[in-house]
């Protein structure tokens, strides 16, 4: 049985410099979830199709399930935990997903929001068709997608990028 090589990793995770050692067969999603406890990023299909493991690497959307953690050396990694500036605020995009019913069960939601964040960074005022084309790599089995498109359109029209976090519950 071959042993795994170990790799020293220096990278920026959600704005914080990190330095650690990973094994060659540790994927970025394993590092995030199992080693660092950032369980917002989900593993769905493990073959790059479903989008549940979407994260940003140097601002670019990637699948963390197809990415060896060792390759993150020197990079800037952003996960769903790193979007909001603090516990009292949400990004306008996160807020829009709540207000417009952009999720139901929630398992795909971190991936949806990371993909949508990458879209709005690339194209701040996307059309519904541009949203559908960009988001087709993020599967959702609850919403039927209409509410996701609506959420992203609402976020694009938001007047501020960050909003105070509102209590959420049944009225």
């Amino acid at each position: 049985m071959t042993t795994a090589s170990e790799h020293h990793l220096r990278f920026e995770l959600n704005g914080t410099p990190r330095e650690l050692t990973v094994r060659a067969n540790t994927r970025l999603i394993d590092l995030l979830r199992d080693d660092l406890g950032l369980t917002g990023t989900k593993e769905g299909c493990s073959v790059g199709v479903c989008g549940a493991c979407s994260v940003l690497l140097d601002g670019q959307l990637i699948s963390a399930c197809l990415f060896p953690a060792a390759f993150a050396d020197g990079a800037r990694v952003t996960t769903i935990e790193g979007l909001a500036p603090d516990a009292d605020h949400l990004t306008a995009l996160q807020d829009a997903f709540i207000r417009h019913g952009g999720f139901q069960c929630g398992i795909c939601t971190p991936g949806q929001i990371m993909a949508a964040a990458a879209l709005l960074q690339d194209n701040p005022r996307p059309t519904p068709d541009q949203i559908k084309t960009w988001m087709m790599g993020n599967l959702c089995r609850c919403t039927g997608y209409y509410k996701i498109v609506e959420s992203i359109l609402a976020a694009a029209e938001a007047s501020t990028p960050v909003v105070p976090r509102q209590p959420v519950g049944i009225r």
Partner: protein
């Protein structure tokens, strides 16, 4: 995932040395990782060594050649970079569009053109378009280099002519004769991010009288390899491009395609679709050329 030794060489010489040392074992090269990591996640490949080309910066990027008439693309260039490259768009708009058809933007950010070719999945989008444009590839080993047309690179499903110890180090696109038109038509009956059921890449050049000066056709999803349809090309060259001539030429594709039955259609269905989409691709380019002449 089974443990493995990961090597991350900083230059091509170091990568070639590692490959020479370990290439005959079960060492695999990795570029973007979208194919190899997928196969490793599924346990279909369990290499003891993986050699990453990601730090070999000389293998990245798109460069104009022949005063902008040709192109050289580094194998580590991502699909997304090819899709958005102004040099690629200036060379041939359909080539950039073809890369925009690969999977989803997330996969295009990761997967590379060289990894795509070396993986040799016959349903992928880039190979037929690159073949129709007359692309060549350079393969480099410690013993030297060889350069061959891309339509001679693929051997069978997931199999190429590459020897252990070789790295695909460049993709070359020749200057296109003026008036050459290109199109990539992808038949997607299921979802937009799917592999093609069949797809057709075509280039066409039409003279002032509406006769075909040259044509190149290649298909994905139609056989164990990305398939060049020379019989169709020969039946078009020198001919007046009437609807009947195009239909008769497109029917010759039936002699060369051998598609597998799978979730994207039965073999019989894909054969018919290969003919239909070949005809559509040629007609589309013929109509564009006629429109430009009028």
């Amino acid at each position: 995932m089974r443990p493995f030794q990961l090597h991350q060489p900083e230059g091509l010489d170091e990568a070639l040395s590692l490959l020479e040392q370990y290439g005959t074992d079960d060492a695999h090269l990795i570029a973007g990782g979208t194919s190899l990591m997928l196969l490793m996640n599924l346990g279909l490949i369990e290499p003891s060594r993986v050699i990453s080309l990601r730090r070999v910066s000389a293998l990245r990027g798109v460069a104009a050649k022949n005063g902008g008439a040709g192109l050289e693309i580094g194998p580590l260039t991502t699909h997304r970079q090819v899709e958005l490259s102004p040099a690629v768009r200036a060379y041939c708009g359909a080539l950039g569009e073809t890369f925009g058809h690969v999977a989803t933007v997330r996969i295009r950010n990761q997967g590379t053109i060289g990894g795509n070719l070396a993986h040799a999945d016959p349903a992928q989008d880039p190979p037929p378009m690159l073949i129709a444009l007359g692309a060549e590839v350079t393969l480099t080993s410690r013993k030297g280099q060889r350069r061959l047309p891309l339509d001679q690179f693929f051997v069978d499903y997931l199999t190429t002519v590459m020897e252990p110890g070789e790295i695909l180090t460049a993709i070359h696109l020749p200057p296109l004769p003026s008036g050459t038109r290109a199109a990539y038509l992808k038949f997607l009956p299921r979802t937009h991010d799917d592999y093609a059921t069949v797809s057709v890449a075509a280039t066409l050049r039409v003279d002032g009288d509406g006769r075909c000066e040259d044509a190149r056709l290649a298909l994905a999803g139609a056989a164990g390899v990305p398939l060049r349809a020379r019989a169709v090309e020969d039946a078009l060259r020198g001919e007046a491009l009437t609807d009947k001539r195009i239909a008769d030429a497109a029917a010759l594709v039936l002699d060369v395609v051998d598609p597998p039955d799978d979730a994207r259609g039965s073999s019989a269905y894909k054969r018919r679709m290969a003919r239909v989409w070949t005809e559509r691709a040629v007609r589309q380019l013929r109509d564009q050329a006629n429109g430009a002449r009028q």
